[in-house]
Symmetry: C2
Subunit: 405 residues, 2 copies
Amino acid sequence: MSIRVVIVGGGFAGLNAAKSLRRADVEITIVDRRNFHLFQPLLYQVAMAALNPSDIAYPIRSIFRGQENVKAVLLGDVTDVDLDRKAIVVDGKDSVHYDVLVLATGATHSYFGKDEWEEVAPGLKTVEDALAIRARVLRAFEQAELNPADAAKQMTFVVVGAGPTGVELAGALSEIAVHAMGKEFDRVDPAQARVVLVEGADRVLPPYVPSLSASAQRQLEELGVEVKADSLVEDMDADGVTLSDGSRIEAATVLWAAGVAASPIGRMVGQVDRAGRVLVNDDLSVPGRPEVFVVGDLAAVSGVPGVAPAAMQMGRHVGKMIASGERREFRYKDKGSLATIGRARAVADIRGIRFGGFFAWLAWLVIHIFYLIGFRNRFFVLAGWAWHYLTFRRGARIITGVPRK
Amino acid sequence: MSIRVVIVGGGFAGLNAAKSLRRADVEITIVDRRNFHLFQPLLYQVAMAALNPSDIAYPIRSIFRGQENVKAVLLGDVTDVDLDRKAIVVDGKDSVHYDVLVLATGATHSYFGKDEWEEVAPGLKTVEDALAIRARVLRAFEQAELNPADAAKQMTFVVVGAGPTGVELAGALSEIAVHAMGKEFDRVDPAQARVVLVEGADRVLPPYVPSLSASAQRQLEELGVEVKADSLVEDMDADGVTLSDGSRIEAATVLWAAGVAASPIGRMVGQVDRAGRVLVNDDLSVPGRPEVFVVGDLAAVSGVPGVAPAAMQMGRHVGKMIASGERREFRYKDKGSLATIGRARAVADIRGIRFGGFFAWLAWLVIHIFYLIGFRNRFFVLAGWAWHYLTFRRGARIITGVPRK
């Protein structure tokens, strides 16, 4: 009988683990709480009204349509892991047995113990987060128009955290204000909007080399973003944020792009670090449980950042090990970093070659299209970008869902 | 000073009223609770995972970007109308004064007093409704896969009401089951799904001539839809519906496409009929209030159906009257009816020329693309349709939002 491999999570890590098992004599079951794989690196563009959720989401079932050894794709929450019986429990009722378990449930944002801030400052991890942020941002301009006396606060946007996501959000917010809202408001001028990017470290994009951080900051400032480095958020409420230097920014919209908390499932299988990531062996297995692997953002591997390429590499590594039956140490290959700031603005560090501006942006664009799954998604994302690039407008400027108050 | 015209509602009626005032010496304010115009006739395609919300939605501001006399577009709920002071109240606090008021707030579905059915059987009026229906339908197949013992109930879909929307939904559900879900399920066969269309009248599409109703029913049956005419829903719960003949259909998903209830704002300005529509004069003004007009689905005008072309005509009629200062009786011009059933399947009645099948479907397609607002929306809808037509797949097969239980 072939080995039963259960993969929990259909993100970059889980997907690549399953794909690497394509020719192996195994029976794969994939479990995810969503029915689609989400291309997380472009999620901020959904939040910023440039793309649709379905442009960057692809049904997990369809991905494995042609892979015979994927025996089941199940939609559900893994509520328990029974390491001794070698079974996971889905939705509190259905047991699924495994010979090998691959956990790839990823991470979400962390508010560093200030969970009450989540109401004020939504983070960006799910499609629902993106649509809620989109609704908030668009609604802020509408509120300003409805009540111009309140416009200064309504048209001030604070982004907390200047990693790649924070930088992307801040740049896009600035572009929305200046271009997308254009001459369509009568009582207020959206171009007067203020975008403040707050970062605890001494510069934006702290993991990058200082010269690229400086380039990114320059490009952000050209777009009108105020960068506040060396600043921590001390407190926040519905009217704005207080920084560690005591200064106060009145803002109706605060977006959270800081902190990482791994999925709680990690605690069910082993020791975790402060961020909740599972401490794994060199081969990504759980100490004492050689049949359980942890990959992607849920795994704590020193020197490996929580980015999509690392998750893909971990997934492939475990897939190949299962297929071959041989254990090997995981080695991360850093292929470079790319962060986009706005139209024709980005920074790139590709194997030590560092550059910013238009060509970095073009590289970013090509790589993201390349890694998107499916012809349809590629086509619609490219078409959406082309339209946006030519018209400066945003194609998904609609407020939907019930935004949090 | 120019006349202040306040238009409440940015649907087909309100939009056309404002556009007809393009060259008039007026100051227009448009108030809507949403920031976009929604192309309602294609909303079922969002529910059926073929289109994105933003493909059929367009920001109201952008529509009037170039129309100088539109002085304000306000996002808010009209909570009160003060006919004597000639003012509306937005969001319970901001008063907006008018010289002429045009009410175009439309209608929603009615459960004929059985409001508790709404939880079980969502209707299709808003983007959120469409996404909730999409999530339910897709989730039903996932539940069947997760628990094949429950598959018969999970893969039975009941559509209540066989007007154009009900017919479109039933046809699309059948196509989803047979084509879109394809060979992607391992434990159940989606092609075994059962779609039941329940109608109280003696045939589908009751407002159409009997020969077209027969054609529509034939086309539905070719798709595998079970049509139950002369049947009323007696009761329903989370497990299914009971019909008036006492028969029971076990079904996890029930969709509501029956009944119309006009927006409650109508009651603030005049006498209403049983459906809550305002009884208006021949010129669409409210009796005793010559400066207040009601247009679209909110107006009760005998012989005028609640369809998009009628709403557009009413809006244009009132716009032209305000521009010219002359009162004229509204006369509805019936340009025909079109209902689509599925791929290459539709029925058409255009000035007495009646036909079904491929050419009716082509006419439906061309007319809907023509009336969509904006190059971008036309392009993306056409591209989405082309992809769907060629691949039989559905591009927006993602479960998002928190579906009602």
